[in-house]
């Protein structure tokens, strides 16, 4: 029992043998958005450090973020955040022992995806409104 040597245990079958389920996509998206956000959040540190350095450094970050590529990255970051946030709350309900039924799992998953899209659009409408 406490023998920790590697053993030749059978491997579980790989992904392609399973029937397609939306919940599979929602699961891997949590991981992908988590890692994507982690990489993207280094830009927040750049933004803060540049602000402390002075106007020149700060304007550089702002013009990068304001460029087409910068805006696309920020848009992706916003969606990833709202997806991960909403699905993270779904995770927390599972941790509390709720929402494991198949139908419930599908429904909460669809709700997460839909709300992430709605919240992203909403945030960008507010952002462009602030830009004037």
């Amino acid at each position: 029992m406490s023998d920790s040597k590697a053993q030749d245990r059978p491997l579980s079958p790989h992904l392609q043998v399973y029937r397609w389920e939306w919940t599979m996509l929602y699961s891997i998206l949590h991981r992908m958005t988590g890692v994507g956000l982690a990489v993207g959040t280094t830009v927040l540190v750049w933004w803060l450090v540049a602000m402390a350095i002075g106007p020149g450094a700060f304007d550089l970050v702002q013009s990068f973020l304001g460029s087409i590529i910068g805006r696309l990255m920020l848009f992706g970051w916003t969606w990833a955040l709202f997806y991960h946030l909403a699905n993270g709350i779904r995770h927390l309900f599972w941790d509390a022992g709720m929402g494991f039924e198949l139908e419930t799992g599908r429904l909460t998953g669809h709700t997460v995806l839909a709300s992430s899209v709605v919240l992203t659009v909403l945030a960008w409408v507010c952002g462009y409104a602030a830009l004037g």
Partner: protein, 124 residues
Amino acid sequence: MSFKTPIGRVRGLGSAKEGTHHWWAQRVTAVALVPLTLWFVYAMTSLAGADHATAMAWLGDPRNAILTILLVIATFHHVQLGVQVVIEDYVHAEGMKIVVLMAVKLACVALVVAAIFSILKVAL
């Protein structure tokens, strides 16, 4: 052979003697991040395209400085725990795994310190 009861073997222990600490810290930071990130997105939408003086004034407000520090700490603590799990799932060569884990943890600490130092420099 161990003479401990099964529950005694499990309670608070794992092979690393840290039990559920990692899992728990991931949840605590997740709960903290819900209000913090919502506040952050709200703040950033109103700061879109801001010049240096406007951004300085914003971060100079103690409330914004404190919330940003909390956000940065919660985020990188959560990231360091989360990315650790991802690495453990996909990187199987023992040496490489240790190198990557250390690089991620050290990078997270460095980023947090750089961020907090900058916030304090602006706000104090």
